[in-house]
């Protein structure tokens, strides 16, 4: 029975637990916290904001920028046209692509354990825990 097992294991853990909170804080930490916090919030609100001055860009430099953007756009369009018009369509190429996609899913058991732990699901007894736990 999952509940009996849980009680036994929890009891076992509590035998190793003094029940005392062993963490401490510096003296006066909580007493002064609110004041420190509000002081910090006010300081952050009043922090000077950097002023950026507008700089006038010469006409020739603006023209150069537009030309650079146009050149990049032409390269992209040309590259896309070249790719679509020269894309291989043979069966051999399709098989190679399928193999590459399949190899992307070869995760190790360690990877899967990490993912399932992260998602809060027990990988060994999913159905048992979710049904018995209710």
């Amino acid at each position: 029975m999952i509940n009996d097992d849980m009680t036994q294991e929890e009891t076992y853990i509590r035998e190793h637990d003094s029940g005392r909170r062993p963490f401490t804080v510096p003296e006066g930490y909580f007493e002064g916290f609110t004041e420190r916090m509000m002081t910090r919030l006010k300081a952050e609100e009043q922090a000077p904001v950097a002023v950026v001055r507008a700089v006038r860009i010469p006409l020739w430099r603006r023209a150069m920028r537009y030309a650079a953007v146009g050149l990049v756009a032409m390269v992209c369009v040309g590259g896309a046209w070249f790719y679509t018009s020269h894309r291989p369509t043979s069966d051999a190429q399709a098989q190679l692509t399928a193999q590459m996609e399949f190899s992307d899913f070869n995760y190790s058991d360690d990877d899967l354990d990490a993912v399932l732990d992260y998602e809060l699901v027990d990988n060994a007894h999913i159905a048992y825990y979710l049904t018995e736990a209710y």
């Binding site: 999952i2 849980m6 294991e9 929890e10 076992y12 853990i13 190793h16 637990d17 003094s18 005392r20 062993p22 963490f23 401490t24 804080v25 510096p26 930490y29 909580f30 916290f33 609110t34 916090m37 509000m38 910090r40 919030l41 952050e44 990490a114 732990d117 992260y118 998602e119 809060l120 699901v121 027990d122 999913i126 825990y129 979710l130 736990a133 209710y134």
Partner: protein, 180 residues
């Protein structure tokens, strides 16, 4: 006397906002601090995260719609800050020489930990759990929180929480069996 409805109204008013937020900090600081501290162990880290939590709450106050309780909203901010901190810390620790030092050894030299060896071992056992599982364990084992309340707090189903807690208890139990 804590009156959440009144506090929320005051938070929405520019004239009373600051005083109301100070009341919020005063009311929730210890509860949030201990939730964070149990996850990160170090007082200095917990202090940083707690302050960041309240800063985020202050700057994001307009985003609080009131459909959840104030405490739940603050806990979620604190939770996210804590998990982000642990992720960043883990990446840093992988490059740090201190990564080889266990939690128990670090707690032994921590001036704000006065537990004995058994208590250090328990913390080391808890530290072996993945972050979210550790959080579930802390809330259930130490705070004896109901799964339904935990579900609302963490946004996870009750079934997943029960499975997670069971898994965490099993792991910690195995840890102590290995030590005995």
């Amino acid at each position: 006397m804590w009156n959440e409805k009144q506090i929320i109204e005051q938070l929405r008013d520019e004239l009373t906002r600051e005083r109301a937020f100070a009341a919020v900090v005063e009311h929730f600081k210890e509860q949030l601090y201990w939730q964070i501290r149990r996850m990160v162990f170090s007082h200095d880290d917990a202090d940083d995260i707690l302050q960041n939590t309240f800063i985020k709450a202050w700057t994001g106050m307009d985003g609080f719609r009131g459909d959840a309780q104030l405490g739940t909203w603050l806990f979620r901010i604190a939770n996210n800050e804590t998990l982000n901190f642990l992720d960043r810390n883990r990446q840093q620790m992988s490059l740090d020489e201190e990564a080889a030092v266990g939690v128990a050894a670090r707690l032994e030299s921590d001036p704000y930990f006065d537990g004995d060896e058994t208590e250090r071992q328990l913390q080391e056992a808890i530290a072996t759990l993945p972050d979210r599982q550790r959080q579930v364990f802390n809330l259930k084992y130490f705070d004896e929180m109901k799964y339904e309340d935990m579900s609302e707090l963490l946004g996870t189903s009750v079934g997943a929480l029960k499975a997670s807690y069971h898994h965490a208890v099993r792991k910690i139990s195995d840890f102590f069996h290995a030590c005995d």
